[in-house]
């Protein structure tokens, strides 16, 4: 790793830019292998990367970048034609460089504390070659007299998946046009002017005070009587004049300050606006690789990459967009043969399009694939117990289509961690909602599917309603607030175990904010209040989608535009709180999260009322899982995770052992590794499925093989879910079990 922090950061930024350019360029090179301009650009990028690596003493990167440079250089001169295999080789070299760069910037691809010591030789076919061959070149004439440089194939980082999947997308630096900075600086200069003017005002006030003091001294020294009334009037007039002057000055200052601070704010906010291309440039590679893995032919069209949006929106929207693209390719686009049979072109088209209205950015991901299958959605909804057939019959097509956005909904029966490990479009929806955006779905069978996200351009400020509860101020995001009204406490009644109030004859669940937040003082006050039948409180009614609920507060104080400051990164999440802000008074005010409040409200039994009838059912006998894993470390680790989640575990050291233990107990599911001696996980899954008795037994494969082909093999063997180890975290496994059992 590069020790020097400054250089490390610089190298990180620079190498990633260059790698991205190389990556894009190689993709384009596949289409136009003889594009001189492109080869020129690629040559320069490889050369510059080599230079940077050299200056940091990163010899391996230097050598590999040199190989690329040579290959581009030779191709450019027309000395050696680029074969498509050569481009594949270059892609591998690039992937290897990427791995080395990650290690150099300390985000190393060093294998995570060996979960699996060494994969046994037998088992599935190897995923990727362990070595990166040199880009292959056919020189028509022998080169003049260039000694071969680094003729050894350099060691490659594990190829295969092009980039770590769940890596957070952070834009760490922003390029700024110096002119815009200059404009900001001149505004800051204006501030200085205003500051000086304010200092002047203080001096003027001091003058006034002096004058008053002098006057009052005069009064005390009894010269007062001697003063003629005329002199007093004169003094008063002077005083008035000075005050008037002071007032108009102060007014001017305040206007000026308003203007300057407004300019500064909008200027700074504009600096955070980045073009979509910052993000979209990641997608061609993703689509290319994914289409290849899934044996589909896909053309990606990107449109509107110049549309600008806040840096934060870009960062947060990356995962949802990737998810939508994956869905489009995985589930939307049909295999080429199938498309031909359906009278479509072999190549499916997937597009991602950004456009802008005055305050919103619209990003659309579409495909011309098979579209949504209304019947499949209906039957899944029934199977998941979300709706009854009769209810579904009364819904519009759009309503049924939007069910795919609901948590826990997925129409594919096979869970892969690619298209969602037990999660699907609901994650997309959550992310978009977190950005205060909305999602729309448009689909026709066999025509395709379009998912459209509407997002705000800038996120820096939010409008909030400041309410007082139990003597504290809380802010509620104004966009959720429908109205607030004073209510008579005695008109509150109980319905289905919740306090309810009828607004215009619509029953709305209500709760005291203090109570929901479990504020310490909430008890007595409430009792005192409820004791008085004529007591009133202010109820703020919030709407989340179709749902409404009311929050009882002492008072509503203000509506403001505030900067939302996110909570510290040390805290993963605080229930009911989305952040904090500083009020004009300087007081820190917590901004509440309406989604959470609503969830809390739904869970909370009545305070002081009768305990809800729901009696906890005595825990059923523990479910038993069969766990097959040959590595003792991993086995122990997984066993511990599963046991702490309340399962009873029977372990097996390989597939054979697991198969022999199948008959012993009545298992709820089988969790198995793939690479194991004697019998692999895939063989185990096949054997289990071959036995009618276990046809319904859920099988989850947990493995380090994570290519699409591996996943397909898993599916073919009869597994229900597939979780890859690099992404293995207990939540994924437990979620998956919960869904399958």
């Amino acid at each position: 790793m590069i020790e020097d922090k400054e250089l490390r950061n610089l190298f990180k930024i620079e190498s990633q830019e260059r790698l991205q350019h190389l990556d894009d360029g190689l993709l384009r090179l596949e289409q136009t292998p003889a594009d001189q301009g492109l080869l020129e650009e690629l040559f320069r990028e490889a050369h510059s990367l080599k230079g940077a690596a050299r200056m940091l003493g990163l010899t391996d990167i230097q050598t590999m970048a040199h190989q690329l440079e040579d290959a581009f250089g030779a191709a450019r001169k027309g000395e050696a034609a680029l074969k498509s295999e050569a481009v594949v080789g270059m892609n591998q070299t690039l992937a290897a460089i990427r791995g080395l760069v990650l290690a150099a910037i300390g985000e190393g691809a060093q294998p995570a504390a060996a979960v699996e010591p060494a994969a046994p030789p037998q088992g599935v076919a190897p995923i990727a070659p362990a070595e990166t061959p040199l880009p292959e070149i056919i020189p028509p004439t022998p080169p003049v007299s260039t000694p071969p440089v680094g003729s050894q194939p350099a060691p490659a980082a594990p190829a295969g998946s092009p980039a770590p999947r769940s890596e957070a997308f952070h834009i760490e630096t922003i390029r700024v046009d110096p002119k815009r900075l200059d404009a900001l600086l001149s505004q800051a200069g204006e501030l200085t002017v205003t500051k000086i003017r304010l200092a002047h005002r203080v001096a003027e006030i001091d003058g006034l005070l002096d004058e008053c003091e002098e006057w009052s001294r005069g009064v005390h020294s009894r010269q007062f009587a001697a003063d003629a009334a005329g002199a007093i009037v004169q003094r008063l007039e002077h005083l008035q004049e000075t005050l008037n002057h002071l007032r108009s000055g102060a007014y001017e200052d305040s206007t000026r300050l308003d203007y300057v601070s407004g300019q500064l704010e909008s200027g700074i906010r504009a600096l955070r606006l980045l073009p979509m291309s910052t993000l979209f440039m990641l997608f061609p590679r993703l689509v290319h690789d994914l289409a290849q893995e899934l044996h589909k032919e896909v053309a990606l069209v990107i449109d509107g990459e110049d549309t600008v949006t806040d840096k934060h929106v870009l960062e947060e929207i990356k995962d949802p967009l990737m998810h939508m693209l994956r869905n489009a390719i995985d589930h939307g686009i049909e295999p080429p043969e199938q498309r031909e049979r359906a009278g479509k072109s072999r190549t499916g088209s997937v597009w991602i399009k950004a456009s802008q209205t005055h305050d919103r950015v619209i990003i659309e991901v579409g495909d011309d694939g098979r579209g949504l299958d209304i019947e499949a959605i209906k039957s899944t909804a029934v199977k998941r117990g979300m709706y009854r057939e009769a209810e579904l019959a009364g819904m519009t097509v759009a309503q049924i289509q939007s069910l795919i956005l609901v948590s826990g909904f997925s129409t594919t029966s096979f869970i892969t961690d690619l298209s969602g490990r037990g999660v699907g479009l609901d994650v997309v929806r959550n992310n978009v909602e977190r950005l205060k955006g909305t999602l729309q779905i448009e689909s026709a069978p066999n025509k395709g599917l379009i998912i459209r996200a509407q997002l705000p351009v800038s996120l820096a400020t939010v409008r909030v309603l400041v309410a007082m509860a139990n003597g504290r101020r809380f802010a509620l995001p104004a966009e959720y607030v429908q109205f607030s009204r004073k209510v008579l406490l005695r008109e509150i009644y109980t319905m289905e175990g919740h306090r309810t109030f009828s607004f215009d004859e619509q029953p709305v669940s209500v709760a005291w904010l203090g109570e929901l937040l479990e504020l310490p003082e909430s008890g007595h006050e409430l009792q005192a209040l409820t004791a008085n039948p004529e007591a009133t409180a202010v109820c703020v009614v919030l709407g989340i989608g179709e749902e409404r609920f009311g929050l009882m507060v002492d008072d509503v104080l203000d509506e403001l535009e505030v900067m939302l400051k996110p909570q510290s990164r040390l805290l993963k999440r605080i229930r009911n709180v989305s952040g904090a802000t500083i009020l004009e008074t300087g007081e820190v005010c917590v901004v509440l999260n309406p989604h959470d409040l609503f969830r809390t409200l739904c869970k909370k039994p009545l305070v002081g009322g009768v305990a809800p009838a729901a009696v906890q059912v005595a825990p059923a006998a523990k479910k038993v899982l069969l766990l097959a894993e040959d590595s003792i470390t991993t086995r122990t680790q997984e066993k511990r995770i599963l046991e702490s989640a309340g399962y009873e575990i029977v372990t097996a050291v390989d597939g054979m052992d697991a198969y022999n233990k199948l008959g012993l107990r009545d298992y709820a599911a089988v969790v198995s590794d793939i690479n194991m001696p004697n019998m692999t996980g895939l063989e185990l899954a096949e054997k289990i499925r071959a036995n009618k008795k276990f046809a319904e037994l859920p099988i989850i494969l947990v493995t380090s093989l994570s290519s699409e082909a591996d996943k397909r093999r898993g599916l073919e063997a009869g597994a229900n879910a597939y979780i890859s180890k690099p992404e293995f975290d207990q939540r994924a496994l437990l979620d998956c079990l919960k869904r399958l059992i």
């Binding site: 930024i13 230079g51 990163l58 440079e69 250089g73």
Partner: protein, 371 residues
């Protein structure tokens, strides 16, 4: 080139001194911010050098020159918008001043030959400093600093055109070649400004030149092949890297292989196996010239061209003692009149000639040899 670091106290001789005590103002141009930071750090260790500005391409740098007035410009070669080659041409046209091109070597193919920037008017080229253990104090860093110090003393003329034959201190008509032993081999040594001088001399030699030439140029790591290819493309005689065990052939100019000393062994064959530095240089002019004097005696001709330092003085003395012919480049045509001056001072030089006269003189020697 492995020039010996110059200590601060010793003002290098032969260089028009940089205006008294004000620091050398340097402008850095590189599209890699990383490179700019590293170069800046290296230069910060030299109290007499001040980085007055940085730019990320040639266009940006051009805009900065009028206000910054740098004494020396260090530029990368491959950059977007305006590359080092175009930049050098523009600087020479509008604000002539010394340019040092810093780049990782590219294989010596013509479209990218770094020596084209020499054609365009850059004074010197060197490899990007190598990182790692010795990054900021290492040899590369010292090389950079010393090159900048040398370049700061160079006056760049608007048009560095070919120097026409004219009256030198000893004009060619005054040189009498009679009475000397038959020349059998010509050794030429140069440092800063050498590539330009080699180009000038070698390109004037006819294809049927009757003597072998052994050429030594102090050069940064990785550039030897590029230099050979560049010269070869412009000369009628052949220019190539020396190979151990071969007897030097007439009409061919040999340069030592990368990182080696070129010597003539006792059987008259070239030997490139030695990797020891001599006086801090590898290749060293002294080493090569001394071996020429030893094997060819009075048949050796030594030519010492532009450059800073003392390499070549001993070698010239050795040739002179052996009865050979010694020629030094004159001050007027030298980019840096250092080594020739020292050699003249050491009484090791028989003729002081301008660059163009040296070419003519060598052609005559060849003629004399044919007779």
């Amino acid at each position: 080139m492995n020039q010996q670091p110059l200590s601060d106290s010793s003002q290098p001789t032969g260089v028009r001194p940089h205006t008294s005590h004000s620091p050398i103002r340097v402008l850095l141009v590189d599209d890699s911010v990383l490179a700019l930071v590293i170069l800046r750090r290296i230069l910060s260790s030299a109290p007499d050098i001040e980085v007055v500005g940085t730019a990320i391409n040639g266009r940006e740098a051009l805009d900065l020159i009028p206000q910054l007035q740098p004494d020396v410009i260090c530029s990368d070669l491959h950059m977007p918008v305006m590359d080092g080659f175009e930049f050098t041409k523009a600087v020479m046209e509008r604000f002539p001043r010394p340019i040092l091109v810093i780049s990782v070597s590219v294989q010596g193919d013509q479209p990218d030959n770094i020596f084209q920037v020499i054609d365009a008017g850059a004074i010197d080229v060197m490899a990007k400093p190598k990182g790692g253990l010795e990054s900021e104090s290492g040899i590369n860093a010292q090389e950079l600093i010393s090159k900048i110090r040398i370049l700061a003393g160079v006056v760049v003329l608007r048009k560095r055109g070919r120097i026409e034959p004219g009256a030198g201190p000893v004009s060619r008509s005054a040189v009498s070649w009679n009475g000397f032993a038959q020349p059998r081999i010509i050794g030429i040594g140069a440092s800063t400004g050498g590539p330009q001088a080699f180009q000038e001399i070698l390109s004037r030699l006819p294809a049927d030149f009757s003597l072998p030439l052994i050429c030594v140029q102090h050069i940064s790591e990785g550039f030897t092949q590029g230099l050979v290819d560049w010269l070869s493309a412009q000369c009628k005689i052949r220019v190539q890297a020396a190979a151990t065990g071969i007897v030097p052939q007439q009409g061919i100019a040999y340069f030592p292989q990368e990182g080696t000393q070129l010597m003539i062994d006792q059987h008259g064959r070239m030997d490139c196996s030695n990797e020891q530095t001599y006086g801090g240089h590898r290749p060293s002019i002294n080493t090569t010239f001394t071996s020429l004097a030893q094997y060819y005696g009075s048949g050796a001709v030594g030519v010492l061209l532009t450059g800073m330092g003392r390499d070549g003085i001993e070698g010239m003395q050795a040739i002179a003692h052996a009865g050979g012919t010694t020629i030094a480049q004159d001050e007027e045509s030298s980019i840096v009149f250092g080594m020739p001056k020292e050699a003249i001072a050491a009484n090791a030089v028989r003729y002081v000639l301008s660059l163009s006269d040296i070419g003519t003189a060598l052609a005559r020697l060849s003629h004399a040899n044919k007779r």
